[in-house]
Amino acid sequence: MGSTGEGIGRRDLIKRSVALGLISVPTMSFLSACASGGEDTSTKGPDKGAVTKENPFGVAKGGKLDVVVFKGGFGDDYAKAWEAAFDKKWGTTSSHLGTQEIAAKLQARFNGGNPPDVIDDSGAQQIKVDVLAKGGQLAELTQVLDAPSLDDPAKKVRDMLLPGTVEQGTQGGKFVALYYVYTVFGLWYSGKLFKEKGWAEPKTWDEFLDICTKAKAAGIGGLAHQGKFPYYINVVIMDLIAKKGGLEAMKAIDNLEPNAFEGNPAALAAVEAVYEVVEKDLLMAGTNGLTHTESQTAWNQYKAAFIPSGSWLENEQLKQTPEDFDMKFLPVPTLADSKLPFEAIRAGAGEPFIVPEKAANKAGGLEFLRSMLSREWSTIFAQQANSLTVVKDGVDPNVKLRPGTASAVTAVKAAGSNTFSYLYPDWYSEMDTEIQNASNELMAKRIQPKEWIKRAQAAVDKAAKDPNAKNNHRS
């Protein structure tokens, strides 16, 4: 090739130019993408409407509203329904984009100064909220909190929210993100199966084991779990600890205390309780190696009585769930002498909605968020996405919800202020991973509860040396 003294042969020339083309084409687009930042397109917003009590942000009638939502486990039908309602009320024209690639679609728009008006900034490819907040890209949403609620103009929007919503969306002292989807964690079962077998909802761990035993005798697995992701079984273990030992036990773990696990009788009792399921052979066959969809689908096929998960479960399994399955939520049953009642649940909010500071129709975006916090829109979400929102009693009792969501609503009401939420998974991912590994070994019967405690404490002690540990503390 080319060694016969003729210089570059024709064929090589073609080959090389093709290779060059292959490299340069994507490079060029990359370069041009970079070049788009900086310039201020100075998009002029529509004329402002008059600020009144009904229109606290001064939304102009007949403007445009640009909405981008993460199209993940909740789909995006709810957002389309919202936009239709918004357009009807304000005479606006909404443009809708449902996507999983939030960062790819929006980074350039933020840099170019023409971001959308409302964004559900969620999913694996979200743009980190703290990064946006630090860059001054987010509108402060405190004005939404202080605006009158649509349901009861005598009250402010902030009075309609479940506790914790404002704290969660606050960055550097400013409330900038509305975490909208309220998630509860616990166990789930089929109402139909339980009715058929004449089993009652277990409230204590002994009752729970009893049903697992009966299930096993009937040829059904007792507890299924998403073995490939020990995250889920950790919900059971950690909730048992929090319920038995109270909020102090939970905070000790989050605050990396030297006796968070070791020397904490509540922790040992909780792990031993879960291990009893393994030892008595009450797990669904093979569940330790299954993914979340595999095990949840097996559970939907009545191969197991219980499965742990968050309240996204119903929507996630929509297609696999038989019509008459009658999905039911169950708070993790309590051990003897627990400090928290059976009704207590782990709960927290997800899916941050934001309004960009440079949004063309910022008033429209803020009004959109205010509407989201009305009972009407919250009900739309519960119906379309089969999940709860951060709006207190946010679902119209006359509306028929899917059974799983309905039972979660009941559980949230029953729990009242008895909710708790671990922070260590967000603060210390390495520690979380190590505890998950230990749980996987426990469920596979390769280690004993005492060894689990030892490993979990070692993970805590290791995290305590993390430089981040100085910044994180809860009281």
Partner: protein, 314 residues
């Protein structure tokens, strides 16, 4: 145009084509390597532009990191077994498909139906690693729904209440993964070796046959020496693949970026990714990257040196 002018024009022409690719290569390949090297001496978190210089701390921590050492051990295991098993199987099949048949006098050909085999063997290579992971996920599934478990249960070898949790067994998981890689690779190397075998003149084989060589002798004394270049290249490629293994391990095994159960299938790339993207220890992860780069380079050089032989011309 004079000779000289033509020569000059040609150099400009060549330089024009070489400059841009070289510049791109330097910017997008070499420069990141240098950056990685630099970051490996810092405590960069990967999430903020600020970091401190920590000297050799990351490398010192790496020496003590049991998870990384375990990962290195798995990579070495794979390094020994992936190339050996794949190449041996591929050579055997290629030989049978091309030369192994015996029919008629002096005929050098493959076993019956060899053209079909060649195509069938190549099938796995067409599949992307992602599909492969899904496919073998179904094979190794840990309940009765899994292909292996279903099969073994039917045969009565496995108790349906306690199926084998293939990828959740500390001492099975690496071998399960090895099988996938070999299954995937054999077809490609079979075709590669077939092509090499076909370029060997038939008279050599005929001569061997006339001298009364059996299949084994023909293979060892004739085929293998003539294929040595291909085998050597394959070994390097497979060795590099064994040093990586990221896609399969991260999608098929449990844990963030795979490596489970309890680090028993960890490879260097999975530990690296977890530290880089999940634990926020990017500087530490860069140190791992440097170690991987050095190991891979040593591996390539050693393989090429150790397998160097006299070239046989034909």
């Amino acid at each position: 145009m004079s000779q000289v002018a033509q020569g000059k024009g040609r150099i400009g022409f060549i330089a024009g084509f070489l400059f841009l690719p070289l510049a791109l290569y330097l910017t997008f390949v070499i420069w990141p390597y240098i950056q990685t090297f630099g970051y490996s001496f810092t405590n960069w978190s990967g999430q903020s532009p600020t970091f401190d210089f920590v000297g050799l701390d990351n490398y010192a921590a790496l020496m003590k990191d049991e998870v990384f050492r375990g990962a290195l051990w798995h990579n070495l295991l794979l390094l020994v077994f992936v190339p050996t098993v794949t190449i041996l199987l591929a050579l055997f099949f290629a030989f049978m498909v091309n030369v192994g048949g015996r029919s008629g006098a002096g005929g050098v050909r493959g076993v019956r139906g060899s053209s079909v085999y060649k195509i069938v063997y190549f099938f796995p290579q067409v599949l992307s690693l992602a599909i492969l992971a899904v496919l073998f996920g179904a094979v190794y599934r840990s309940d009765e729904g899994g292909l292996l478990n279903g099969f073994l249960t039917k045969l009565g070898l496995v108790d349906p209440a306690h199926p084998v949790e293939w990828l959740n067994q500390p001492n099975l998981v690496v071998w399960c993964l090895l099988l996938v890689v070999v299954w995937h690779g054999v077809g490609f190397y079979l075709v590669l070796f077939s092509a090499a075998m076909q370029s060997v003149p038939k008279d050599i084989y005929e001569a061997a046959l006339l001298d009364g060589a059996g299949r084994a002798q023909t293979f060892l004394k004739v085929t293998l020496p003539l294929l040595w270049d291909s085998v050597q290249t394959s070994a390097v490629y497979l060795g590099i693949a064994a040093m990586d293994m990221f896609v399969l391990v991260s999608t098929m095994t449990s844990g963030q970026f795979g490596g489970g159960p309890d680090h028993h299938s960890e490879v260097m790339a999975t530990v690296l990714m977890r530290n880089f993207l999940y634990f926020g220890k990017s500087g530490y992860a860069c140190a791992m990257g440097v170690v991987m780069l050095v190991l891979t380079m040593i591996l390539s050089i050693v393989t090429l040196r150790a397998t160097r032989r006299e070239r046989i011309e034909f």
